[in-house]
């Protein structure tokens, strides 16, 4: 035993005698993680969050979250002598007078954008592969909470520098809160400390942005990751992989090295973006004052779809009994997103209700094998993309010689038409892919080699696929439709007949599939 080992052993002994750590750390170190590139999205989120904490802490060292008015006397000539908030002035100072400050600001902002993009990509991966199914419904809901928190945290961060763009964003936020019936006006006054833009808002959202929400984030992320740890990661189907096991690399050393290395990669890519590409050049926007506005005022991309929905909303307002209800704000900014996020949170339970499946699932679905879910996902993506396009309609109009009115009408109509079309097309596409899988199993791969038969006709040689490949293409389950008779054995109508009818119908639609190949079938075709 070397002396280094001895000292390490002594330290380990010290800890273990007090915490009994060896037994549970050993268990954790034996954990296995399956490899797939799409499993890395969650890690990008977690690492971006760490980058956000680090760069954000750097920024707080100089940022002054105050609406106190100061006269700018810094180095940026075009703003010299202008009255502005201390928040804006200190952001300018961070950008121009603290070495590396602008880099850190850009890292913070790019990282926030990457964070949100990775959350969305992670959510889509989990959705399309069915990783949210039992026993992971809790973690799915935690994920939706993180997404929602991310939207809010991003919006607050965007608002803090108090430039013209962020102030415009806040103006719109205030209008949304103000539109809530009954309590909206009071809420705005309490939030802003008076009529917009108030006197107390920036210090308040600063505390929320750097303390409250990051704290909640940290707690939720910890639970989220611990649940992944405890429940063990899902895996794609493949030879040797079952619902009862998990195949992959152990934590020590491979996974540790790869995951640790990937943190530096994420940080490095963020730093690279921040070095070469400008983001949120607040010095060009100017300080916020409510009388000013810039053409093409946009939120960051993850809010862009909401802005797009608000833009395309019909001009509806109800005036009655001395009160006003702004449907043109409530529907696109609160009601529709509320429905979408609630629907997302409950989706695992809705799907389980339709399929009647109460078993645990650790093997992922190939998206094509679950046509309805995949189609629903693509339908939702289509919806968001149309909204996003409309959110940037002014930029699209100038860059592609279009008219904002055309794009607006296109969005207003297609938001209703295109998502259902996307659903139908995707579902059919999934079924064709299933059919292609079936053909592949039955007839093998086309080799491109032609053989002339004695009869004179040419036939292409087909190479049978490997056992592994065949296993991947055939090991999935194919759902059967639920059967819920409307009346029981004695002819008495069951309660909830309408609900059951709906459930049976949905389940029937869900069970549409191209039958997969059975060994018997394959044997039969091989005999010919």
């Amino acid at each position: 035993m070397t002396s280094a080992e001895k000292r390490l052993g002594a330290a380990a002994n010290f800890v273990d005698e007090r915490l009994g750590a060896a037994s549970w750390v050993k268990k954790s170190l034996n954990k296995v993680f399956p490899d797939h590139w799409s499993f890395m999205f969650g890690e990008i989120c977690m690492y971006s969050f760490i980058i956000l904490l680090l760069s954000g802490t750097f920024l707080t060292l100089w940022f002054d979250p105050s609406q106190r008015e100061v006269v700018y006397e810094g180095v940026y000539e075009p703003l010299k002598g202008i009255t502005m908030s201390a928040a804006y002035a200190s952001t300018l100072d961070i950008s121009f007078e603290i070495r590396g400050g602008l880099l850190m600001r850009q890292i913070h902002h790019w990282s926030a954008n990457i964070f949100m993009a990775a959350i969305v990509a992670h959510l889509l991966r989990v959705f399309f592969t069915g990783a949210f199914r039992k026993p992971r419904e809790f973690n799915w809901i935690l994920g939706i909470i993180l997404l929602t928190l991310g939207l809010v945290e991003g919006l607050l961060g965007y608002s803090l520098p108090d430039d013209l763009l962020s102030g415009t964003g806040l103006r719109i936020t205030a209008a949304i809160v103000q539109a809530i019936p009954l309590v909206g006006t009071y809420l705005t006054f309490f939030l802003f400390g008076g009529a917009f833009p108030g006197v107390g808002f920036l210090p308040r959202i600063f505390t929320i942005h750097i303390l409250l929400l990051p704290g909640i984030f940290l707690a939720v992320i910890t639970i989220h990751v611990m649940l992944v740890w405890y429940q063990k990661h899902t895996q794609f189907p493949g030879p040797g992989r079952t619902e009862k096991n998990v195949v992959g690399h152990p934590i020590l050393p491979v996974y540790m090295a790869k995951a640790g290395g990937f943190f530096f990669i994420v940080f490095g890519v963020t730093a690279f973006l921040s070095a070469v590409a400008s983001i949120n050049p607040i010095w060009l926007y100017g300080p916020y004052t409510p009388g000013q506005i810039s053409a093409g005022s946009q939120p960051d991309w993850y809010m862009g779809w909401l802005d797009g929905l608000v833009r395309m909303a019909p001009p509806w307002e109800t005036h009655a009994l001395g009160h006003t209800i702004s449907w043109n704000i409530l529907i696109p900014a609160l009601i529709v997103p509320g429905i979408i996020f609630t629907g997302m949170a409950f989706y695992p339970f809705i799907e389980a209700w339709i399929t009647g499946d109460k078993r645990e699932h650790h093997l992922l679905d190939r998206p094509r094998n679950v046509p309805n879910r995949t189609a629903l996902g693509v339908m939702s993506i289509t919806f968001v993309i149309i909204s996003l396009i409309n959110g940037g309609n002014d930029i699209l109009a100038t860059h592609f010689d279009l008219s904002i009115n055309q794009i607006m009408w296109f969005s207003r109509i297609s938001i209703f038409i295109l998502p259902p079309i996307a659903f139908v097309v995707t579902k059919r596409l999934c079924l064709s892919l299933q059919r292609a899988d079936r053909d592949l199993v039955l007839h093998g791969v086309e080799t491109g080699q032609l053989v002339r038969m004695p009869s004179g006709e040419f036939v292409e040689i087909h190479q049978p696929i490997s056992d592994e490949k065949r296993w991947i293409l055939t090991s999935h389950e194919q759902p059967a439709a639920l059967e819920l008779p409307a009346s029981d054995a004695r002819g008495v109508r069951r309660p909830g007949a309408i609900k059951n009818k709906l459930r049976v119908r949905l389940s029937k639609a869900n069970a549409v599939a191209i039958p997969k190949v059975s060994p018997g079938e394959l044997k039969e075709i091989e005999h010919h």
């Binding site: 993009a117 994420v266 949120n280 060009l284 093409g296 930029i395 008219s403």
Partner: protein, 263 residues
Amino acid sequence: MKRLSRYRRHKAAAPLLLIIALLGIGTTFNIVSAAVKQTPSALERSVLIEEGKAIFLRGCSSCHGLNLEGGAIAPSLIGVGAASVDFQVGTGRMPMADMSTQAARKEPVYSEEEVAALAAYVASLAPGPAIPTDEDLNYERDGNLAEGGVLFRNNCAMCHNFAGQGGALTQGKYAPTLMGVEPKHIYEALITGPQSMPVFSDKTLTPEEKLSVIKWIKAAEAEPNLGGATMGRVGPVTEGLLVWVLGLGLLIAVAVWLTARAR
């Protein structure tokens, strides 16, 4: 000579020659027009007006009418002033090549001399805003940069974007980019209100304030990239695009490599 002739068939030869030729013509006209400006005697002035009339009848009257009265497709030019003509023709907006939603800035059809003649002719028929002189346009001396920024954000940014990159108006119309526009033309646009643009009267936006705005625009144009490539200075839309394409793209590429089995 022999070496030069070898390059004659080079594929860049034609465009290069064209540029040289254009530069040559441009310089010549600059010298000529400078000469014109120096001697505005009454006789020469009337010659200029006659010349302008000839150009007008040839190139403009089919739409704007023989007596500037306008027509079904073009507005009356009575009282628009020399500034308006100088702006519209000098930036190549007029003559309008196609009847699209709005006249776009392009390579001017007429030479500076011809523009001056046209402007003189139109101004001679009815009074209107005059072309600002170089003395009027000394924005470096008379403008205030920071104040120009405030005025710009109050009066211009809503259409032309926070950095003067242009923006969308209704029904396919747009506020053009202000980058690369001559100070004279910016000033003329402010006092004449071409196309969709409103007029900024001298009383509500004083000449000094106009110069401040121009000074700010010129500073924005010359401002180097302080934080990296700007992607058009149009705000978060292009930033979001970059995040998905480059940011997530690079990370996915690394993730694919990371999880692939080494050989």
